[in-house]
């Protein structure tokens, strides 16, 4: 390994170093504020390392990891998401009695796993990254370990995640048995060299999709989502919804492009069915929810369904446009999801999550700023103009129409219509009269870090919604670098 390869790997190395430093500092003295500062500093340092690595990209460092602009940009996105979640975690956990410092270590290891995942070009690093991410998440979900719901959620996630990894490994084994390759490009060459359809490879890919589908909570692998979202502490839910799902999706795009798997037209059909089911069932189930976190969980399922439309379009249009659409939608999804769960997190304490819809009654007149931020986030999820979600939806329509996926787009339209209903329900609840509010108006002092984070997210949401040029150009230049 030469010096430029090490430079390219700098972000991952820095992140690993930061983890050790935080661990050591906790061993020496427990101080939540201090540990948070180190963690935040560490994430910022990793971002600086990203900038240094940018010049050396694209570079294949070892067989396992390829550092290119695609990986680096998404690492930046994940790290920024991690930073935002860290801000919410600080306000959420600072009043909690007990030992909160390890939370930060786990946050960092999860980020490390996600970073490895999105840069991987090999099944070994794929699995390694995914498992580092998942194992950190189990503990993060169950962090308030003296409570029932988080524990229950963590156990559910643990078991289903184990099953999904088994599917994944089986799929990898099928593919390896046929082509004797574990690297994505090697598999791609093998698939391209085969004239007839190889049923083993096809089943391997389907098994891998099943494994990945658990992480992305695609229907029919979505059953864990609502329980885990509801059980986990609000900031951690934001983390699962964005970093975990986002990293897996980014990897999926890379895998399908490198291995050129859309040669199998059957896959398009299968994915289309999965996408339609994901959109419709996610949105339909969300209609019935009276708990905001469950509602957002099902809506997140629907949103991953929309993302799949861009992903499926990759089978019939220039991959660059599909990747561009999916990436933009992913960024929009990150901003809005973190923002929405951020608001919940501000309203919650470790003892009582702000989950019931009735908590939000009259929020508009009690906490206008917070309610306005939440409204913005929900409107963005619904894809209303002026918000980044609107441009995201436009992208989905564009790639879907370019790929002539009319059936899928019809599902998107129906899903959006259903989506409006439950997003509006929450918004309406916030505008109801405050007098009847069942919950005492709490005083949310000392949450300035969360407030600042939410403000930044709102500004980004409006900026990219009104003038998306900057983001569009960035994503466009990045998505053309993906081989």
């Amino acid at each position: 390994m030469n010096i430029s390869q090490i430079q390219a790997l700098a972000p991952i190395i820095t992140l690993s170093g930061v983890i050790i430093i935080v661990l050591l500092s906790i061993a020496i003295k427990r101080n939540f504020v201090f540990s948070c500062t180190i963690t935040a500093g560490g994430i910022l340092m990793t971002l600086v390392a990203l900038v240094c690595a940018w010049q050396n990209a694209p570079m294949q460092t070892t067989l396992l990891i390829r550092i290119d602009h695609y990986a680096l940009s998404f690492m930046a996105l994940l790290l920024l998401a991690g930073l935002a979640v860290l801000g919410f975690c600080y306000d959420y956990f600072k009043t909690r009695k007990g030992q909160n410092e390890e939370l930060l270590v786990l946050l960092l290891t999860a980020l490390l796993g996600a970073s490895v995942l999105i840069a991987s070009t090999h099944f070994a690093s794929f699995l390694m990254g995914l498992e580092i991410l998942s194992i950190s998440l189990f503990v993060l979900i169950a962090y308030p370990s003296n409570q029932r719901h988080p524990l229950e959620a963590a156990i559910k996630y643990l078991i289903l995640s184990g099953v999904s990894s088994a599917f994944l490994l089986l799929g990898m084994a099928f593919i390896y048995a046929q082509c004797g390759e574990l690297g994505f490009t090697g598999i791609g060459h093998f698939i391209a060299s085969q004239s007839a359809m190889n049923i083993m490879i096809l089943s391997g890919i389907i098994f891998i999709m099943a494994g990945v589908g658990f992480k992305l909570s695609l229907v029919p692998f979505h059953l864990w989502t609502a329980d885990v979202y509801q059980g986990a502490p609000a900031p951690i839910t934001a983390f699962i919804a964005t970093v975990s799902k986002g990293a897996v999706f980014v990897l999926l795009l890379r895998f399908f492009i490198s291995a050129d798997s859309f040669i199998y037209s059957q896959l398009v059909n299968i994915f289309s069915i999965v996408a339609v089911l994901t959109i419709l069932i996610g949105n339909l189930l969300a209609l019935l929810q009276t708990h905001v976190k469950r509602l957002l969980a099902y809506s997140a399922i629907g949103h991953i369904g929309y993302l799949l439309v861009a992903f499926i379009a990759m089978g019939s249009i220039a991959p660059a446009l599909a990747v561009e659409s999916a990436s933009f939608y992913l960024v929009a999804y990150f901003i809005t999801t973190i923002g929405a769960f951020g608001v919940i997190s501000v309203l919650s304490t470790p003892q009582s999550e702000a989950d019931e819809l009735s908590v939000y009654r009259g929020l508009f007149w009690r906490q206008p700023v917070l309610a306005a931020v939440f409204t913005l986030m929900l409107l963005s999820l619904a894809g209303i103009p002026l918000t980044v979600g609107f441009i995201g939806k436009f992208y989905i329509f564009t790639s879907g129409a370019a790929g002539r996926l009319w059936g899928l787009l019809a599902a998107v339209i129906v899903g959006s219509g259903l989506g409006l209903y439950y997003y509006l329900r929450v918004i309406v609840m916030m505008t109801r009269n405050a007098e009847k509010s069942a919950v005492e108006s709490k005083i949310y002092n000392g949450t300035w870090i969360s407030t600042a984070t939410l403000s930044v997210l709102s500004i980004l949401l409006l900026w990219f919604g009104i003038y998306p040029d900057f983001l569009v150009n960035t994503i466009q230049s990045v998505s053309y670098t993906l081989p």
């Binding site: 209303i384 129409a401 409006l420």
Partner: protein
């Protein structure tokens, strides 16, 4: 630049109104009035700059009076492109006029969260005026969606007993149909891209796109549904009676007066010029839908006892004429459409203002619980009578001119359908006179002493009444302004067909 200001002033005014509530709860309405005055001055300035004469109603020298073009999202060739022609000019003037009326009718009715109310009101006007000006299809869709949200808030926060259901229904109907339009827009742009190699959402460039007939039909349908839901026409009208009944008066005025007109404008400006052949094929069905709307809604209006619901159905009926006229696609019918749009905007807004004023006094919208109002509140009753006459299409009032021109134009295209639609001239007096009879005549029902129209109500309604009479007696002014724009639209489709 003035065009951009026309949109921006309303938005800025709305934000100022929202925050001015902190100083005093009564300031937002004054801010709104000021904003609308500035808006009116700007529009006047634009008009005089374009025609070179100050006299309102001078014939327009060219079709497009002004143009504002600014690159917005270069990746997809999306521009912030606004343009003004005679048609947009008239509709903008109507928008501003009814903006004043909406503020006037909300003056005392809205007594909580005033700042947010006037923000939504002006924000809604921003979206509407954006729709009337946009000539970039992405921008059109942007404004199209933008105007829904504030209206949703107006209904769901300040509405009446069943407001949340009504607001939700309104939002979902219009938003989902809007997405169909977005799909059509994107598909149209991609077809254009495959022919020219560049992405463009520019209306004028997309006019030249060559589309195969089947695809054109589906794309046209996407636009048609979006605009017809907003218009609304049977069978997409069911959201309207609910939304109108539950909305506060200001919201109803905006909804009936100008928001419905965005649907008519869209059909006129986009559906037929972009897809002339597909529209031509589809015209018989659209005209039948128009005729059904006219007759069915007139009969439904007769069956209502809730006065706002009654007026809402008359709106559907009048908009049926608009649909009929647009798809007749000759100058006479289109001129009729323009006059109907303006006249109905004025008369429906006035009727909703009256209904709001009555509800404020009587605390009911049920006409069976009214009666004998003529003796109690003569001034308001006289105004009710005028606008009821306008609504039934009495000659000398604006609606008559519009509907008459539409029928004459449609007669050239489809005699049978026109003859059937003309039955509305019998049905509309029935519902209008029934409303007058039940509410104004008979024994005085309410016991409490009632207050007649105050100066604010009187002036607002009198202005509208004068305008209706003016439209009825001398529609030439309006026709002169709209003619070049309409001829231009028709010219485009003729070129396409040859």
């Amino acid at each position: 630049m003035i065009l951009f200001a026309l949109v921006a002033v309303l938005l800025i005014g709305g934000i100022v109104a929202w925050f001015s509530e902190k100083i005093h709860p009564d300031i937002p309405r004054w801010v709104s009035v000021m904003t609308l005055i500035i808006e009116a001055v700007l529009l006047m300035a634009q008009y005089t700059a374009a025609t070179g004469v100050i006299e309102w109603g001078a014939p327009l020298s060219q079709t497009w009076l002004a143009d504002f073009d600014q690159s917005w999202i270069p990746r997809f060739g999306i521009h912030f492109h606004l343009a003004l022609d005679g048609l947009s000019l008239l509709l903008l003037a109507l928008t501003i006029l009814l903006g004043f009326m909406a503020v006037s009718s909300s003056w005392t009715e809205i007594n909580k969260h005033q700042g947010f109310f006037y923000f939504n009101l002006l924000f809604c006007l921003t979206g509407v005026s954006g729709v009337f000006l946009a000539v970039d299809l992405f921008l059109l869709f942007f404004f199209w969606e933008l105007m829904i949200l504030p209206m949703y808030f107006l209904i769901s926060i300040w509405g009446h007993e069943n407001r949340i259901y009504a607001a939700m229904k309104f939002f979902i109907f219009t938003q989902v149909s809007g997405l169909l339009m977005l799909l059509s827009i994107v598909a149209l742009v991609l077809i254009n891209h495959s022919q020219t190699g560049i992405y463009s959402f520019n209306y004028f460039e997309l006019l030249d796109t060559e589309i195969s007939p089947t695809i054109a039909f589906w794309l046209m349908l996407g636009f048609f549904i979006a605009f017809t839901v907003k218009l609304p026409a049977v069978p997409f009208h069911t959201w309207l009676p609910d939304a109108h009944t539950q909305a506060p008066t200001g919201g109803s005025v905006l909804l009936a007066g100008i928001m419905l007109k965005t649907g008519a404008y869209g059909l006129l400006r986009f559906v037929i010029p972009l897809f002339p052949e597909a529209s031509h094929q589809f015209a018989p069905i659209a005209m039948i839908l128009g005729a059904i709307s006219v007759l069915y809604a007139a009969m439904m209006a007769f069956a209502q006892s809730d006065i706002k619901r009654l007026i809402a159905y008359t709106s559907v009926s009048h908009m049926g004429f608009v649909l009929l006229g647009i798809f007749s696609w000759n100058l006479l019918a289109l001129q009729g459409v323009v006059v109907t749009i303006l006249a109905h905007g004025i008369s429906a807004a006035a009727l909703f203002m009256i209904a709001g004023a009555l509800q404020q006094r009587l605390h009911t919208r049920d006409i069976d619980h009214m009666g004998g109002l003529w003796t109690a509140i003569p001034r308001l009753s006289a105004l009710t009578l005028i606008f009821a006459f306008a609504s039934l299409g009495l000659p000398t009032l604006g609606n008559f001119v519009g509907e008459f021109l539409v029928l004459v134009g449609a007669f050239k295209v489809n005699v049978v359908l026109t003859a059937i639609t003309a039955l509305a001239l019998i049905l509309s007096p029935i519902y209008a006179l029934m409303m007058v009879q039940k509410s104004l005549h008979g024994p005085l029902q309410p016991q409490a002493s009632l207050v007649d129209a105050n100066h604010r109500e009187l002036v607002s309604l009198a202005v509208l009444a004068l305008l209706t009479v003016w439209l009825g007696l001398y529609p030439g002014t309006i026709l002169k302004i709209s003619a070049p724009a309409l001829k231009q639209e028709m010219q485009q489709t003729v070129e396409m067909e040859h």
